[in-house]
Amino acid sequence: MTAACNGRLKLMPKIIIDNKEVECREGASVLEAALAGGWNVPHYCFHPGLKVVASCRLCLMEMKMPHPKTQELDWAPKLVPSCQTHVREGMEVRFDSDPVKKNVENCMEFFLLNHPLDCPVCDQAGECHLQDYSFEFGRAESRMVDEKWKNPKKDIGPKTLLYQDRCVLCSRCIRFTEEISGTHELTLVNRGSKLEIDVFPGFPLDNPLQGNVVDVCPVGCLLDKDFLFKKRVWSLESTPSVCAGCATGCSIRVDHAERVVHRLKPRYNPKVNDWWMCDEGRFGYKYVHDDKRVTTPTVRRGLEDSTPEWADLPGIIRYRLEENVQANGSEKVAAVLSPFMGCEEAWLLGKFIRDAAPDATLVIGPIPRSGEDQTFPIGATGDDIRFTISQEKCPNRRGIEMVLEAAGGKTLDFEAFVASATAGAFSAAWVVGGYPAEWLDKKLAVKMAAKIELLIVQDIFENPLMGGAAVVLPACAWVEREGSFVNKAGLIQTFERAISPPEGVPQDGAFFFALAGFEGLYTGERVREQMAGKIPAFADAYEAPLKPVHAH
């Protein structure tokens, strides 16, 4: 019952719902209190992240109100929208009553008057609240005798389709563009039964957060063109993860089936992204399924290339590194840790390098940046900011920095590393990439590769260093690994493995785990336990709630 209550609030009013006492957060609405208390109250227009409009009339309840003249508490003569009514100490409401049930049933009938019976071809089917509420609260048959009004789908933007037939006019999407993105593209046009959602002529729905309107839509009215017809939602599996698109680190859900990621959806996280995520992150996973990915390890000795078994690789690498350290000294070894690596992986690789060569240099990979931080509603500052897209287009700069700080010893930034490497300061280096786009200057890279005797390159895609590398290793994308990222605010967040890496490739963490001399199964948690000794912050990584605070 205390799910809706945050610890920071002093006063917890108690209200009575259906003769059961519920404790709730001061200032919450009756609907929120009921949802947190486990009641399945139908609602379309209410969304905890948006303003309340009380337009869908589904959450109406019987309530005991103070009489306007006598101020005595008495049952109000009409039903009252529970999303709009704040809780007050001693309040009494009824949800399980005949007038309330009748209201929901009648509302559902109106919602479904013109709704086409196209669930089998609608992408929302399976996660549609028209289906759920119709099943739970509606009536089986339509009494409509007139022909249904048909309204073909509209192309409202480059990434989104609007099926007006299926709309319940909850206005969540409109409020999203007004309150969160601040771009005001959507509006209501026409009147009465012809009321519909539309964009202004010449101004399509095209802002960096527009994908969220599809998420807030409780029915199949707004649909992603990207996911359209790709898969039925009930065949998708969901894995909680963290977006690797930028340093904001939104909590997401990876929806995948048969080892293919089909979509990313935001997950409620009050500390980072609330309910939202940006389009760049939402559609930025495509590189995971690129054909050009490196999938086989290669070891070179002289002019000979060979593809060893994965199980033999730790031995080969350890031997070659030791050989190199003995010949050239341990201060001539370096490791470049990419900001796309998880903290665990960076720590394991750092540990392996430092164990083999105690005076080795640890380097943080280049930080991809683009433009300025984008704040929303557009141009918001200070407390008005509801969402930020970071200019730092990597998920884990802070995490790598934390690992490097804890490791101590000699550390460099990437530019300095390139400068000294091209001057011949290193005889052995392990360079980890994992960037979705090209990240190396070709000339410098070739020059650098020629100077480093034992160059171990690990990347998702081919890069110019690989030509001169002694060992080329494939890397995994973040949906194929488990671990943790530290976002720009310093929050340590864990992510789970959604799909398996390309055939035969072990996940990076597991490979480093074996390389660093650990035995058994690699899990992010096991490594974090080890890390917590050096970096106490890793003792408790933050995990966003799996279920949102609202029903949908």
Partner: protein, 201 residues
């Protein structure tokens, strides 16, 4: 855990002297055999001379090889709703949906593969189909040299429709709202006064 009170102990029945000889039981069994023997000798034989002779199959509910129906315009009737794929207990149906090139429909199958070797011929796909696009036919003698050939694609399934449609016409699909513009002829809408009269009568 099963409670002791739920357990019923059953003793073996005591056999009579006649039963202990087993002879009456054997004779009883022989009677059935002999009855069938005479039936076959003097009546219609139970076996048939396959393949010269063919059994008559019940067209309406025999569960043989699948087919994909065509609609009245000769296009594939499937709307790619994945209901058959979802209902299939053997996971033998694989559909890739795409936007249909036709005005009157949202979705259509770009790929429709059915693995006849994995299929257990339960008929659940036919039950699940909302537009009666997939149906089981009376064809049962499916042969091929490789396993891959037994994965029938959309064209092959449509070809089966073409050669079996005369024997088994497509069932009438229930009217649903899959079309965008509604070019399907509709029953004239009843107005309220008519409805009231009908209800009154």
């Amino acid at each position: 855990m099963i409670d002791d009170k739920d357990i019923v102990m059953v003793d073996e029945p005591v056999l009579s002297v006649g039963e202990r000889f087993y002879l009456p039981q054997i004779l009883d069994g022989m009677r059935t055999t002999i009855r069938h023997l005479f039936k076959t000798l003097f009546g219609r034989p139970i076996t048939i001379q396959y393949p010269e002779e063919q059994r008559e199959l019940r067209v309406a509910n025999y569960r043989g090889v699948h087919r994909l129906n065509r609609d009245e315009k000769g296009r594939v009737a499937c709307v790619a709703c994945y209901m058959c794929e979802t209902a299939c207990p053997a996971h033998c149906i694989h559909i890739d949906a795409g936007e249909s090139p036709w005005e009157d429909r949202e979705k259509y199958p770009i790929k429709f593969d059915l693995d006849e070797l994995r299929c257990i011929y339960c008929g659940m796909c036919e039950e699940a189909c909302p537009v009666d696009a997939i149906e089981l036919t009376t064809e049962f003698s499916l042969v091929s040299r490789t396993r891959e050939e037994m994965i029938l694609d959309k064209e092959e399934l449509l070809a089966i429709h073409d050669r079996t449609v005369a024997e088994k016409p497509r069932k009438n699909p229930r009217i649903t709202g899959y079309e965008n513009t509604g070019d399907r002829p509709r029953e004239p809408a009843k107005n309220r006064t008519n409805l009231a009269k009908e209800e009154g009568a």
